[in-house]
């Protein structure tokens, strides 16, 4: 999110807005907001309802859950949800008409849509 926060002034300058969605309960989202001084909406998608509509939800296999807990990631506590389901890191640039201009999803959470690709899409939309 920090990488996207850096381009936020440019995103806003192009007349667009940024919405971040996570399965965290609102209290944890609030903590995120304060922690990162985010200047955009952080929405709580409890149970990954919306992420599921975007085809992004998967369940962590049982054999890796203990490792997550030992890394300090106690999902059931964070997300008020014992399903061990997570959304992929997916990003969508949506036009004013509701049509997706750019769609990105990666199964490796260490990857993400490059911030520059977002700006390119928004600039492209402006020229039309």
């Amino acid at each position: 999110m920090k990488a996207y926060q850096k381009i936020l002034p440019e995103v806003l300058g192009l007349g667009a807005s940024l919405i971040a969605i996570s399965p965290q309960s609102p209290d944890k989202s609030q903590a995120t907001l304060l922690k990162n001084f985010l200047q955009y909406e952080v929405l709580s998608d409890l149970g990954n309802v919306v992420a599921r509509q975007y085809g992004l939800v998967y369940q962590l296999p049982e054999w890796v859950r203990d490792l997550y807990v030992s890394l300090g990631v106690d999902l059931p506590a964070f997300n008020a949800d014992s399903s061990w389901e997570l959304p992929l890191a997916g990003t969508f640039v949506v036009g004013q008409d509701g049509v997706i201009m750019t769609s990105y999803a990666d199964s490796d959470p260490r990857n993400r849509l490059e911030p520059q690709a977002i700006l390119d899409a928004l600039r492209g939309a402006k020229k039309v």
Binding site: A3, S17, S22, P26, L88, F92, D108, P109
Partner: protein
Amino acid sequence: MEQDLRSQIKERERTHPLSREESELLERAYRELAQSGITQRVPKAGEPAPDFRLPNAVGIPVSLSDARGHGPVVVTFYRGIW
């Protein structure tokens, strides 16, 4: 988010290095997810974005349809603070 996860994992690795088995376990989880074909099922460019209405950090509902009334919207899903 992901960066926070990475820095958290890095910090954890510094204090309690991940064993070879643990690293392999994480890599295997990513690999299996990639092989599941999940990324093929997300809506693509040119398709309608599913609308949503969700509470923001202070509980006020925010909808995609309202947000795009003002201009394009970048919607990004992430796993959490870690």
